[in-house]
Amino acid sequence: MSMLQNIVTIVLVIGGTFFMLVGSIGINRLPDFYTRTHASGKVDTLGIIMFLSGLAVHQGFSLNAAKLLLIIAFMAFTSPVASHALSRRALLFGMKPWYGHGKDKS
């Protein structure tokens, strides 16, 4: 466990936690369903990817690191599918997107 490995691990894990926190803040701050899906679908994905790559760096070259990379790949593929499935159902159900503070340009 070298010094550099420790530093990279700490930076990646703190960055990942930060992005997951921002994703949760976004879910609370953004105005409607679709914009909230942006927050959960993208910021959270980046957060989890950073967090897990930090853990992979901590493991070094080993079987567990390869397994973590596999989890990262699956996360990156499935997260947009989940966001798409949710928002598609919402649109087909008739949920209207939010377009701004009453400034109707028609």
Partner: protein, 193 residues
Amino acid sequence: MSQQSSSFWLRHRGLILQALLLSAIWLLLSGKTEPIYLFWGAVSVAFVLWMSNRIHNIPLAENEPCGTTRINIPRLIIYLVWLVGEIIKAGFYVAYVILHPKMPIEPMLVRFTSKQPNVMARVILANSITLTPGTLTVDVDGIHFTVHALTRDTEEGLVSGEMESRVARLYMQSCKRADMCCEVELITSGRGR
């Protein structure tokens, strides 16, 4: 001889690559090299290959079986590297928008038509749109895409057609950027629908 082997490679490329990938995943997840584990691994890979070979003949859409097209692997690798960069940019961009005190969002729906060569290209495009900054694929109906964009900047990046032509070039030698993203329609207020 070489003619025959190259055509064998081309015809069964998908199966061979799938077998290699599945074996790699088996070795990765088991982490053991005793003969009994390798034997059961080979049995599992063969079973999955047999199952998915049957799935290849089921069409994804009308008259379009998914096993007939071949993706360009070097371009796919370049594309994946580019896509990882886009995911990181997307996370930073949306995080910036969320944390900005005034939240400079201007959400809108964008409808456009993209003449992608086949079903898989459309799936890849829809998935990639969701991963890239501030855009979210809401609906795909044939060649018509409905995308939710978070701000006007992200909408401009979407209709420039860069990603669409990148995806199309995974399957085709060349393509015109104008074909890839046309009939753009913006819905910026509740009245348009």
